[in-house]
Amino acid sequence: MISLTQLTKRYGEFTAVDSIDLEIRGGAIFGLLGPNGAGKTTTLRMIAGILEPDGGSVRIAGHDIVREPMAARRVLGFVPDRPFVYEKLTGAELLRFAAGLYGLAGPEVEHRIDELLGLWDLLAWRDQLVESYSHGMRQKLIISSALVHQPEVLVIDEPMVGLDPRSARLLKDLLRSYADGGGTALVSTHTLELAETLCDRLAVIDHGRVVAGGTMDDLRRAAASEDGGLEEVFLRITRGASDAEIDRVLKA
């Protein structure tokens, strides 16, 4: 459902995403991991059609995001890493607007709005301006706006930002049932527990390149850590700071 071929993005001399190849099949949750500044958000923004790639291609459900942007975006739902939305719209109006962007309106949309707001316990906030929403409520609203048109592909950058444990659990269940229903979810996260328990396949990006990929077992093998958890695997693959180094900095 999502196919990245030699995907590249440069900012001047700096290469943020360097010739990434990824194939993400339908009915699965794919996790994108990597240290800060590795190129995860840039990759996701290119997949969502927000950024134009400098090289390579992105295909969503068979549609090239550059050549057939409208067709590709029609089947896509995107959740950015920071929940910026129109402050002067109410929650219901924002979801109605999001549905309207996909040409959807009418009683079915109203029903869907109530359904999504109800799912997140936001029905009481339906007619409140978004400016009075908390960070977590905004995140829930944005996830709802990505789901309002029932997309085939869901791209989420840092899904757990601002969510309380109950909502985080709800999101996990939601993503699982979405994938079980045939949807494709691409999730970028720093929450290794989420990646380990939720994702069917994973890729680790570092310095704009995919440095490891596959199932959890594949990653363990790549990191030569047969019994390790994802945290240890991640640190080995991305060569993170050692415990001794962390101790030294904290005690300095």
């Binding site: 001047g12 923004r45 969502a48 059609g49 927000i50 950024l51 134009e52 942007p69 409208m70 067709a71 975006r73 029609r74 896509l76 995107f78 950015p80 920071r82 910026f84 939305v85 129109y86 002067k88 719209l89 109410t90 109006e93 109605r96 607007f97 999001a98 549905a99 309207g100 962007l101 996909y102 040409g103 959807l104 309106a105 007619d127 409140q128 301006l129 400016e131 009075s132 706006s145």
Partner: protein
């Protein structure tokens, strides 16, 4: 850490950011354009002021006095602008800036924070006034032979002159935030806007420009000078500044004026600091509070949804969203009050024009005033487009991701914004133009031509404002009201004025035979159909070109919306 060291630490990021903004790759071109505009505007202002001063200098006895009064009037106007500008800027720097949470949680002394924010407010509010003052004061120096001593006097005068409105403005904003605790911080800006409107009207009224136009009606010269002296009150910093500067030019410098300026600045700073120390923590907390904002679907909204239904779901939702946001944002709609006041003042001015009717001379005058009316109405339209249409895309700002990731093409997005902009703009233009046309008793042909031009200009200005807004977006702006003061806004105004000038000149050129016939000693005649058709044709061509070319450029630019938003 001492106050000065803390001040340096607090101001350093702002200075670095400002330097890096100017030095960054994409900004170099813009800075060059700005320098180009300055290079063109400075000589113009300089020559105009120098010629005026030279003429005044030739008037025996009262010449230098008139020049001093003129400087006083100018400084009073600048003082008013600075006060309003500081009111708005201080709301941003003291209450809404994104770095405040970090700064306030750090062990920073309150005096350092106050001083740093006051200096920041002063700088962001004063730079444009300073830029305009340079050629004005250079003209004074040229005409009255000011040398190095005058330069020193200018620096020593302007520092307290700029600090006084900054301290008063920021203290007033602090009190506003305290008086309206339940409102959201953005609403305070609306109140500030309303205050700004009231103050603007007050300043304009205090100037009483119509009295200066006709000095003969005064009983004697003393009345005339008194009228000039009125606004340049000896109790205001503008009066002290003018006296200090003129004194340094004429050799009758009185240090008391400077003493007044500096002591007032010091008093304003101390009073502002004391208020800040006492009230700021509570006011800052109140400014962060949000209201309960329940919105019901009123009949008006339902009617609008119904009215926009023929455009299709996607276009309707895009337009509805813009209208909703506009009317729910006090920083947006509050400016309509200023607009309404200006329109009323404009129509009133047309109403009181001393035109007699029935003679060829007055008909000739009416014709001339109709063209002047077209130019002025066009200018008002351009200013409104700069304020309301130019920022439309910038206001999408950080929510642009929603549009970018949805199946919305650039043409649809821009067309929605064009419709939302052009309908009220041309509607207002028609009302303004037809009202003034009727008041002036305009002949039917010229009246129709005027209406055609103003509708065409409404379309052209909307398209151009959108295009410049796409080319120079201000996604990071913390204050919507400041977006039009950016370089893009300035370029839009210049482009709009060029369009307006071309349309007016095309009409004058087409009707030149008729216009010349109205001069004394010529055989008066009416304009022929051919002349009207030529004028209408040229107007239509210019307005169409002024609409379609920028619109297409904007669509092309917007179609690369992702890359473009990332670069900005």
């Amino acid at each position: 850490m001492g106050v000065l060291s803390e001040l340096a630490v607090l101001l350093r990021p702002k200075l670095l950011a400002a330097c890096r903004r100017r030095g960054s790759k994409g900004r170099v071109g813009r800075v060059l354009v700005l320098i180009g505009i300055g290079a063109a505007a400075w000589p113009f202002i300089y020559v105009a002021v120098a010629r005026l001063l030279s003429t005044l200098r030739g008037v025996e006895e009262i010449g230098p006095l008139l020049a001093a009064r003129l400087l006083g009037l100018g400084l009073l106007l600048f003082l008013g602008i600075l006060l309003l500008s500081n009111l708005i800027a201080s709301l941003s720097s003291f209450f809404l800036a994104r770095d405040l949470s970090a700064v306030r949680s750090a062990p920073v002394d309150w005096l350092s924070l106050y001083t740093a924010r006051l200096l920041e407010t002063t700088a962001s509010s004063s730079w444009m006034v300073l830029l305009i003052l340079v050629p004005v004061l250079a003209a004074y120096a040229r005409v009255y032979g000011g040398g190095l001593w005058f330069l020193v006097a200018v620096i020593v005068t302007l520092i307290p002159f700029l600090l006084i409105p900054a301290a008063i403005g920021s203290a007033s904003t602090l009190l506003l935030v305290r008086v309206f605790p339940a409102r959201r911080s953005r609403d305070i800006l609306a109140v500030t806007g309303l205050t700004a409107a009231a103050l603007l009207v007050f300043v304009l009224r205090a100037l009483r420009p119509e009295r200066l136009l006709n000095p003969e009606t005064f009983r004697n010269l003393v009345d005339f000078l008194a009228a000039l002296q009125g606004p340049a009150s000896p109790w205001l910093p503008s009066g002290w500044g003018a006296e200090a500067l003129m004194g340094s030019l004429s050799g009758s410098f009185d240090p008391f004026d400077l003493l007044l300026l500096w002591s007032t600045a010091a008093a304003a700073f101390v009073a502002g600091a004391a208020l800040h120390h006492r009230l700021y923590p509570g006011c800052f907390t109140k400014a962060q509070e949000g209201n309960e904002n329940v919105v019901r679907r009123h009949a008006g909204w339902r009617w609008l949804e119904w009215a926009l239904a023929p455009f299709g779901v996607q276009r309707r939702e895009l337009m509805l969203k813009d209208v909703r946001i506009f009317f729910r944002d006090p920083t947006q709609w509050s400016q309509l009050i200023i607009l309404a006041v200006l329109v009323v003042v404009y129509v009133y001015n047309m109403r009181i024009l001393p035109l007699s009717t029935g003679t060829m001379i007055s008909r000739y005058l009416v014709t001339l005033i109709l063209f002047l009316n077209l130019a002025l109405t066009g200018f008002v339209l351009a200013a409104i487009a700069a304020r309301f249409v130019f920022p439309m895309l910038s206001l999408e700002g950080r929510t642009l991701w929603l549009l970018c990731s949805a199946p919305v093409d650039a043409g649809t997005l821009l067309a929605s914004k064009f419709r939302i902009g052009v309908v009220p703009l041309t509607g207002l233009a028609l009302v303004l133009s037809s009202t003034t046309g009727v008041l002036l008793g305009a002949p039917r042909g010229l009246f129709t031509l005027n209406l055609l031009a103003i509708v065409g200009l409404g379309c052209a200005f909307t398209a151009q404002a959108l295009a410049w807004g796409v080319l120079y977006p201000q996604f990071e702006s913390e204050n919507a009201a400041q977006i039009p003061t950016s370089l893009g806004g300035l370029l839009f105004m210049l482009g709009a004025l060029v369009t307006l000038g071309l349309v007016t000149l095309a009409q004058i050129w087409s009707l030149r035979g008729f216009l010349v016939s109205g001069l004394p000693g010529r055989e008066p005649r009416s304009a022929s159909s051919g002349e009207f058709l030529l004028a209408a044709g040229l107007t239509a061509i210019l307005c169409l070109a002024g609409t379609l070319i920028p619109y297409q450029l904007a669509v092309q630019r917007l179609s690369r919306i992702g890359r473009w938003s990332e670069e900005s």
